[in-house]
Amino acid sequence: MPDPSKSETVLDTTAADAPTTVAPDTSDHDALTIDVGPEGETLLEIDHVTLRFGGVVALNDVHFSIKRGEILGLIGPNGAGKTTCFNVMTGVYTPTSGEVRFSGKVISGTKPHKINQLGIARTFQNIRLFPEMSALENVMVGCDARHKTSVMGALFRAYRVRPAEHQLPQNPLRRSLAKVFGVSRHTMEERGGRIKSMELLKFVGIADRAHELSRNLPYGYQRRLEIARALATEPELLCLDEPAAGFNPAEKEDLMDLIRRIRDLGHTVLVIEHDMKLVLGVTDRIVVLEFGQKIAEGSPEEVARNPKVIAAYLGEPDDAA
């Protein structure tokens, strides 16, 4: 692969108003670490999944698995079925045959919001934020997925919890009231969600525009915001659908760093990407799809050497087939 990044990198980092390269995140993100099972176990298994739309076979007997704690790349030319694969995993489509198992549990056919509760979150290839919400609110929607308060709790706030010392309000009157009567779980979750969302925005590096409507954010911010929103649902498995689309090389570097940091928090990451450099640079293992079929699987080095993959990417006649 040719590497045109050098000259462009220089150009971009010198551009004054480019909000692209984000200062390294120095704050402490211990709060964002999630509890997960032992590393290396099979987390998600796509078990011989076939998906047909009428006569069109979108996925043909696709079989691979993701191990807990790894970064897996899912690559392939346009129309290879990568996003369809995502959609099967997140419950948008139900496979015609085969199963998807998450932590050993069959999830194919489960409703999307249930799948999210089980611990899978995703971003979208064509950004799908809630445009009329601020960046912070977008992330808070994600946080709400883990909150227990519902309509009754929000209306009557009768479920009280006892806050820890540092969570008590500053105002002396409120402080003593909170000590006596406790604080409603709704309020605690709302505050907690706000704090955690802010942390996440810092983590992905866009906290400076937290209160702006997401539709007004620059493109790179929107992409990062989608990642923050997905992380807010505390997914064991985070699926990124072409997160680097439209990014320049400097931004791609940042993104690779971000993906590694996400893994360090305890998330398992699945990345769909076109950009071979990014995929080879960040993933532990790669699965290659073409025309709805898996054509290769292995470490980045193996995949990069695989003649079938090279043929698929260069569009030459596939001799091996």
Partner: protein, 379 residues
């Protein structure tokens, strides 16, 4: 029309309000509430011209105020369905009727239901379910109806939902008219109970003469409901509704249980409608099916969309205008529906986001307009 509205916009009342310090807003709110409670006795010129009983043929001012507030309750409840959750409910009168009929069927000593209970348990002829117990009955009845109607239909496309709910409103009315042995049919039920209260001048506290007491009661309930509606709007529930409105699929993938929250919106709207109906039936002390014609549903929806769906202050204004104006200009009573229809078309064409839209809604409309213009330019 738009000049007037522009002038109004120039005031930027909303910006001034939100810019003011917290205590100013609180005091301002208290003053507004105090003024609202004082309204039945408003007699200072020139403000007294807003009264509806200046001529002998006018309607009783306090009763009009009561109706305005009951419809405001309706509007706030329907706003949860239309404005927050984005579901068009054209059968809201059904829930309103259910609330009124619940208090009548269980609270009136002369209702067939109560008579059946009297006979079954050998109770006294004056026995009936006490008013206070009728409140939860009304709420639960409306809630059950809301969930039963919503559960199968909320998965449908928006405009289908509109028609199904429209049918529901009619079914409730037709059922009330035809189930003679339960609802007394077209005759209706009299002797609907009133809230308990101390006797004054030999009359019960809530009676047919002193309408201002009914008004105060309704106003207190309205304030409570508005308070709860704000709580909902600024909670995870409000966020979930907004997320569903903006992108339902993305919301579901982010863990928002879209169907559950839509059903909640429907159920909350239904029970608020039930409360409003209960107040109405109790004040009238008489309930009959013809009070719940389908036109009332249209009126309710019009209050929300003309006022500005999604904005509680907007829908309050909508409810006020559409209830007060026809009463103030009673001499044109026959022209009321015509004027209502014309107003509906004109306001929606000139200002589809409503008179006082929510900020978010206003922006959504602006975006769509730009998109439509761009599409037209492309073509």
């Amino acid at each position: 029309m738009s000049q007037i509205l522009d002038a109004y916009r120039g005031l930027k009342l909303r910006d001034r309000m939100s810019g003011a310090p917290g205590w100013v807003r609180k005091v301002g709110m208290l003053l507004v509430i105090a003024f609202a409670f004082y309204l039945p006795f408003l007699n200072i010129l020139p403000f007294a011209y807003i009264r509806t009983d200046l001529t002998s043929s006018g309607s009783d001012w306090a009763s009009v105020l009561f109706l305005v507030v009951v419809y405001m309750i309706v509007a706030v409840g329907l706003n949860v369905v239309i404005g927050f959750a984005g579901l068009l409910d054209l059968g809201y009168v059904g829930f309103y009727a259910l609330g009124a009929y619940s208090v009548a069927l269980f609270g009136s000593p002369s209702s067939p239901v109560v008579e059946a209970i009297q006979n079954r348990f050998g109770l006294d002829e004056t026995w009936a379910v006490p008013f206070v117990m009728c409140i939860p009955i009304a709420i639960v009845m409306a809630l059950i109806a809301g969930v039963t109607l919503g559960a199968p239909t909320l998965r449908l496309r928006g405009d289908y939902l509109a028609i199904v709910t429209l049918g529901f409103g009619e079914i409730i009315r037709i059922t009330a008219r035809n189930l003679d042995n339960v609802t007394n049919g077209a005759t209706g039920i009299s002797g609907v109970p009133v809230p308990p209260g101390p006797e004054i001048d030999g009359r019960s506290f809530f009676n047919t003469i002193d309408a201002e007491r009914w008004y105060w009661l309704a106003l207190s309930i309205l304030i409570l409901i508005i308070f709860l509606a704000f709580r909902l709007e600024h909670s995870r529930v409000g966020r979930a509704w907004l997320a569903i409105r903006e992108d339902e699929d993305a919301a579901a993938i982010m863990g928002v249980a879209a169907f559950k929250f839509k059903l909640w919106a429907f159920a909350i709207g239904a029970s608020v409608g039930g409360i409003a109906g209960l107040l109405f039936g109790s004040k009238q002390q008489y309930v009959e099916p013809n009070a719940f014609m389908v036109n009332l549903s249209f009126l309710f929806v019009a209050m929300v969309v003309i006022g500005g769906s999604g904005n509680i202050y907007g829908v309050l204004l909508g409810a006020f205008l559409l209830t007060y104006l026809p009463e103030r200009f009673r001499e044109f009573q026959e022209w009321r529906p015509f004027a209502f229809g014309v107003a509906l078309v004109v306001v929606m064409i000139l200002r589809p986001q409503g008179l006082v839209p929510s900020r978010r809604r206003a922006r959504e409309f602006e975006d769509r307009k730009v998109e439509a213009e761009e599409a037209a330019a492309d073509a």
